[in-house]
């Protein structure tokens, strides 16, 4: 639809937003490590799913949540190159993401799936 406008060198009001994205992408060397790490984490997740003694402990759910959060973050940072891209995109994504996260947690509290124990 719209032609590439990111080559513009004009009128950058917002500091740090101006870098043309082509030069800020990571390269194959990074991508292959990212893919390897993602695969390993996925394998780890599935592996611990099959350890009956571990799935019964209180650590099981937090471990899985942490692992998937790490995967989530890696894909967003490297594949979606948010780590290298304009700060504005971070705000556009992280603002709603955080708000949505709070909403999920809030709803789970309200429906009694998470409980505060004094």
């Amino acid at each position: 639809m719209a032609a590439d406008q990111s080559h513009s060198t004009l009128s950058h009001d917002e500091k740090g937003n101006a870098s043309p994205h082509e030069h800020t992408h990571p390269d194959w060397g990074t991508y292959k490590w990212v893919a390897l790490i993602l695969t390993l984490i996925t394998a780890l997740e599935v592996w611990i799913y099959y350890i009956p003694s571990f799935t019964k402990t209180k650590l099981f759910v937090p471990t899985l949540l942490t692992l998937s959060a790490v995967k989530f973050a890696i894909v967003v940072m490297f594949y979606m190159h948010l780590k290298y891209d304009a700060k504005l995109f971070r705000a556009l994504f992280l603002g709603p993401l955080i708000l949505a996260g709070f909403t999920i947690v809030g709803l789970l509290f309200l429906f009694g799936h998470l409980v505060i124990r004094g």
């Binding site: 504005l88 603002g95 709803l107 309200l110």
Partner: protein, 649 residues
């Protein structure tokens, strides 16, 4: 495509296309100003429809034990009155201002995606017609604008009524979402050079905040409505209590959307009033940054208060306390706004035009609604007030006294920019006073009715409960509002032809939209202006007004801003007065400005998308749905693979 253009001596006849005049020029338009007017007239039409529904409600409740309409029709009337006023009047009337004003205020020639903009309008038009076509089938929605499930599931509402509501809202949601992405991109990316975020006119700021509320809140209602649609049409169990579903799921999802929605309704009106008050006080907006931050804070907190609509549902003390506190917190940024408006007017040289009166009307009446809102942020107090007429009084003070008053202020203020002529101030004065008095007469007695125990949503009531006189007053007030609206309509249509010619800047405005002709040429700005402060026009014409305003620019310099070859300093260029003459201004082509090609592709795509939903309501008519879906996909490809602007060789 030369950059320097000499104007041809004679208005040279360009090859006319069928899209350049008549009905086709509206069906194929991608011009944000025309789309804004389409939104404007469509939503004013629905305002009349929703107003008639309200008038019938007030006629029914005038006397006890009235049988003007049946209980069933009454349910349809209050459901459609609410749904119409929220989704077909206040939201699109705000959208009319977003469309018309955002590009003008930020110094752009159009929105970021002009065809998507046209698509949003056509989907909105289709959704409104779809929702109201239910009247002709005697199946208007009857479950309240909040459509609580499980009441709205198939076993309890077997008819087409709720089908129309669910699908109609789904269609309108698509329109709002598409417009939201468009305006966010427009405001982020299309600002004129020098227009930092903190120099942006306050209406554009509030519009920006509102778009975020739209794109974040509408997905939630989309999901909730999808569940309801699947339950009704495909037999899922989301709201089936026998299958173990939770009766509060709908309420939570709906109010997760519903509370941001009320800020979607009020923030644009706040923005308009924040434009009107400084101009008619001849003073810069008091505390501009704080106004911006409080708008953002209201929007953010708006996602954390939804369950205050559900105190009566019994969520337990922790939830009640949490949502009570967050609700009270919202009063702080809102109060900040009200005091800043007062601060703006304080010591100003006030001019009481109709626009100014409506703006002051918002400040006064919204405050009343805001205070009754704080009253039921406290659960024990809310339990007494909930589902009574007290609540009806509260939200009409914020929505009619707030949103509608603000939008009327905007209409009187921007009518000259939209049409080139001023509305009649004398008739406007009648409109304002009839509306203001009628509004208070209608809704203030409802506080007492509510405290006297009159419940909401009842089609009639018994005599002898002490409710008669207040209901009489309310109905008289409604008649005054109707009368005021007749003044408004008469004023609107006569001023189109006989109103005083406005010129560029009839009010002494401060922002970019006032430096271009009224109505603006299709390209808006012959030369994109460079902005050096928050009040670019006052800097040039009345620098004494902005001496105390921090100009957050190191290289402060007065730029020559040229409109159609003329510097803005020499304000009233002769060409301004030649109204309704399309050749008064050089055309985009003569100036070498590339404008988007008019196209009906968005219209076709919107129509096909709507038809998919029509097929759904016709007992899942698969041939219609699949054909329409295929046409939609085809027209989408056709649209996306066609360049926005004519190919230049």
């Amino acid at each position: 495509m030369a950059t320097t253009v000499s104007l041809p001596e004679t208005p040279h006849r360009e090859p006319t296309h069928k899209y350049e005049s008549g009905v086709w020029s509206w069906l194929a338009t991608t011009d944000h100003k025309r789309i804004g007017q389409l939104y404007l007239y469509t939503s004013l039409f629905w305002f009349i429809v929703g107003g008639i529904e309200a008038a019938i409600i007030r006629a029914q409740l005038y006397n006890p034990n009235s049988h003007l309409v049946t209980a069933q029709t009454y349910n349809e009337l209050f459901t459609m009155h609410g749904t119409t006023m929220i989704f077909l009047v206040i939201m699109p009337l705000s959208a009319a201002f977003f469309n018309f004003l955002i590009p003008l205020q930020i110094g752009a020639r159009d929105v970021a995606f002009p065809r998507l903009n046209a698509f949003s309008y056509w989907v909105f038009l289709f959704g409104g017609l779809f929702l109201n076509s239910s009247w002709f089938l005697h199946a208007a929605p009857n479950g309240g604008w909040f459509g609580y499930a499980p009441l709205t599931t198939r076993p309890f509402s077997p008819g087409l009524n709720i089908d129309f509501w669910v699908i109609g809202l789904q269609i309108l949601g698509i329109s709002s979402l598409a417009a939201g992405f468009n305006f966010i991109t427009t405001i982020i990316n299309m600002r004129a050079p020098g227009m930092h975020f903190m120099r942006m006119p306050i209406f554009s700021w509030m519009a920006f905040v509102t778009q975020f509320l739209i794109i974040l809140a509408f997905p939630i209602i989309t999901v909730a409505l999808t569940f309801l649609m699947l339950d009704r049409f495909f037999g899922t169990n989301f709201y089936e209590i026998q299958a173990g579903a939770d009766p509060l799921l709908w309420q939570h999802l709906f109010w997760l959307f519903g509370h941001p929605e009320v800020y979607i309704l009020i923030l644009p009106a706040f923005g308009l009033v924040s434009e009107v008050l400084p101009v008619f006080s001849r003073k810069p907006l008091f505390g501009y940054p704080v106004m911006v931050y409080s708008g953002i804070l209201i929007a953010t907190l708006g996602f954390g208060v939804w369950a205050h609509h559900m105190f009566a549902a019994g969520m337990g003390p922790i939830a009640d306390a949490f949502f009570s506190i967050t609700t009270m917190l919202i009063a702080i940024p809102t109060g900040v706004k009200i005091f800043n408006w007062l601060g703006t007017m304080w010591g100003g040289s006030l001019r009481f035009t109709t626009a100014m009166k409506f703006a002051i009307g918002l400040v006064a009446l919204f405050t009343i609604g805001g205070i009754s809102g704080v009253m039921h942020s406290s659960p024990p107090s809310d339990l007494q007030q909930t589902d009574s007429y007290f609540i009806v009084a509260h939200f009409h003070y914020v929505l009619f006294g707030g949103s509608m008053m603000g939008l009327f202020a905007g209409l009187y203020f921007y009518y000259p920019k939209i049409t080139g002529r001023l509305l009649n101030e004398k008739l406007g004065n009648w409109h304002f006073w009839l509306t203001a008095i009628g509004m208070n007469l209608t809704f203030f007695p409802m506080h007492f009715l509510g405290l006297d125990g009159m419940p909401r949503r009842i089609s009639s009531y018994d005599a002898g409960q002490g409710w008669e006189s207040n209901n009489h007053l309310a109905s008289y007030g409604a008649a005054l509002i109707v009368l005021g609206t007749i003044f408004f309509a008469y004023n609107w249509f006569t001023s189109l032809r006989r109103g005083a010619v406005a010129g560029n800047d009839p009010w002494g405005g401060a922002t970019l939209e006032w430096m271009i002709p009224s109505p603006p040429p299709d390209y808006n700005f012959a030369t994109i202006p460079k902005v050096t402060s928050r009040y670019p026009l006052w800097d040039r014409k009345s620098p004494e007004l902005t001496v105390n305003v921090p100009h957050d620019s190191q290289d402060e310099q007065k730029m020559d801003v040229k409109i159609g070859g003329q510097s803005t300093g020499t304000a009233s260029a002769p060409s301004d007065t030649k109204l309704n003459a399309p050749h008064a201004h050089p055309s985009a082509r003569q100036l070498g400005i590339m404008m988007p090609t008019p196209t009906t592709k968005p219209l076709i795509a919107a129509f096909a998308l709507g038809t998919v939903f029509v097929g759904l309501i016709m007992h899942k008519n698969l041939p219609i749905m699949l054909t329409a879906a295929a046409i939609f996909v085809f027209s989408l490809y056709n649209w996306l693979l066609t360049p926005l602007e004519p190919e230049h060789h």
